[in-house]
């Protein structure tokens, strides 16, 4: 009896570990969008979470229009790929346009006017999400209750890969999260460290004036950053939708907040930091939900954030930039 209890406790722990990591990886994808934009123009891009929300609405629309939920076998995976690509393209384009319209003209006038502009953009995107939910499509339940959360069809099955008898669940959903997040991050690391664009991005982040003097078209580099950040948001939105199976026009708020917290926790501007921060947040949330009380989870997450920042003022993996005196 005693032994059995122990194994159940272990199962429970493993389960929370899996859940925490999966949630953390989704947050990480969004967090990178924040951290990239922050790194390059020092803007907390409030609209990013809502951009992510619109990405999932696009995915649901594409799914509904093409009837992807009816595709079977290999078709399902083709469908998932299609959703990923369309959402990424959409979010990238939208993010780029927002930068063009709402941020670029204000770049010279200081961080805070940019911030308010981003807040404004965020409100507009939320409203667009509300309208979008009213589309008269079957996947939106005919659009009658525009504001209601929408069910996202379970393209990826929830079967337990460890066998139906196992208490611990590891599902294709978890693998999907890993299978999308990991290659994306590797590709991103490659872009940032190895390509010309990546070098230009890092140079612009370091010193935009110098970068411009060196002949780098900083406007284009910033645009490219928004494109990439948006595309990652698009990936995240599809993964999120497939993993949680619900989307709502207000989901951008919490997703954005978690991601931003992760970016800061890891050291804002640092991409590996954002991933580390996101995994920490995912795990802390899962463990707190599992072993303590859910209602205190937010308090615990932010308590840990404050503690970490007291002892590491520039985040887990951030480097303390020495001010040039």
């Amino acid at each position: 009896m005693k032994k059995r209890l122990d194994s159940m406790e272990l199962d429970f722990f493993l389960q929370q570990l899996i859940t925490g990591l999966s949630n953390g990886m989704i947050i990480a994808l969004i967090a990178i969008g924040y951290t990239m934009v922050y790194g390059i123009i020092e803007l907390i891009n409030f609209a990013h979470g809502d951009l992510f929300m619109l990405g999932s609405f696009l995915a649901l629309t594409v799914l509904g229009v093409l009837g992807i939920d009816a595709w079977t076998g290999g078709g399902t995976w083709l469908g998932v790929l299609l959703l990923l690509l369309s959402s990424a393209a959409f979010c990238a384009g939208l993010n780029w346009s927002i930068e063009r319209i709402a941020y670029r003209p204000l770049r010279a006038s200081g961080k805070l006017s940019l911030l308010v502009s981003a807040i404004g953009a965020s409100f507009i995107l939320v409203n667009l999400g509300l309208f979008w939910g009213g589309l008269p499509l079957d996947v939106f339940a005919g659009g009658v209750a525009a504001a209601a959360p929408k069910d996202f069809p379970p393209l990826v099955p929830n079967t337990n890969l460890l066998g139906e008898d196992s208490l611990v669940q590891l599902t294709p959903k978890d693998l999907l999260v890993l299978g999308v997040t990991l290659p994306t991050m590797l590709a991103l690391t490659w872009i940032v460290t190895r390509t010309r664009l990546g070098k230009a991005m890092r140079a612009t982040a370091q010193n935009p004036v110098a970068a411009r003097l060196m002949g780098i078209d900083t406007d284009r580099v910033i645009g490219a950053t928004f494109l990439i950040g948006g595309a990652l948001g698009g990936f995240a939105s599809v993964i999120y939708a497939l993993y949680n199976n619900t989307i709502s026009f207000q989901m951008g708020y919490r997703a954005g907040m978690d991601a931003f917290t992760a970016a800061v926790l890891g050291g804002i501007g640092s991409m590996p930091g954002a991933v580390a921060g996101a995994l920490v947040i995912g795990l802390v949330r899962a463990m707190s939900d599992g072993y303590l009380e859910t209602r205190w989870t937010n308090t615990i997450v932010f308590g840990i954030l404050v503690l970490i920042l007291i002892f590491r003022p520039s985040g887990l993996l951030g480097s303390r930039a020495k001010e040039k005196v």
């Binding site: 907390i44 807040i119 507009i124 409203n127 009658v144 007291i310 005196v325």
Partner: protein
Amino acid sequence: MAARLNPILAFFAIAAALPLFFGASGLFYDAFQSIFVFALVGLGLNIITGFTGMLNLGMAAFMAIGAYAFAILTCDIYPFQVGFWWGLLLAGAVGAVAGFLLGAPTLGLSGDYLAIVTMGFGEITLDVLKNLEAITKGTQGINPLPRPTIGGWTIELQDERSWYYLLLVLLGVAVLFVRRLERSRTGRAWLSIREDALASQCMGIPPKRTRMIAFATGSAVAAFGGALFAALLSSTGEPNSYDFQVSILALCIIIVGGMGSVAGTLVGAAVMVGMNAIVLVKIADWFGAGDSGSSSNVLASPNNWKYLIFGLALILVMRLKPEGLVPPRLESTATGVPPGPTVSVPPAGGRA
């Protein structure tokens, strides 16, 4: 200096005169009562972010702390019942203590790290208020709250004109105090930290202590505003009334008004809160009139456009007046000093 005082005096003069023209309209009083309350919160945030340059995304938490402290100290379901005026004063004090407790370990953090900590504090405060049901009544809110009495005369809730002037006077006192601080050694230290923290430190100004004083002062003013917010509703509402969106509203008030400008904060509050209380309501009324048909189309309801209008307004204001409606430091342009020849600072060559 006289040039700077003008917009503030103008604001108060106009505000004092307005009821003569609109004394009959309930909507007018409601709108302006909220404007005054949020002006107080904005004033607090202006000290923290506008003067001292610390981005604070958790102002609503201090408002909540003020409101709940006021409610717990005055509501008759608790034994304290200290009365309206002591309640206000103590709410401000509790706000200052909370600001101090949050600030003590975290004010060494730089810009956006501090922002996220304050945002987290906002979330924690909401959770704590919700979860400590035995003390805060959870999501029920605490009510009723007492009315202010002045020498045996009680201002009832429906006596809107008296409330209007009471709030105006309290706002005036707060503005006076904030201006006094701003134009003293204390305020100069705050501004110098915003301008250049390192240079200010090298002038012997202890950054942490100065920031902490600013943070506690701002928190106290916001808590004071929160207490009035609750008193005006005669209820704390629910903890969710003080969520992140309120912090964002406070931030928009000071940025749209003009960072670091007291007059800007007042105008910003009038614009941002007024937009909600008057413009959006009116838009909904105008478009909603005569609509009795099917409302299953999401675009048909004017209420569904509010986010969009609000967001567009924010972006537009920033496009047209990126420095805010009433930018601070008018006198530097008013005295007519021509801007110096722009000498490009030679790029610092290495670690010389």
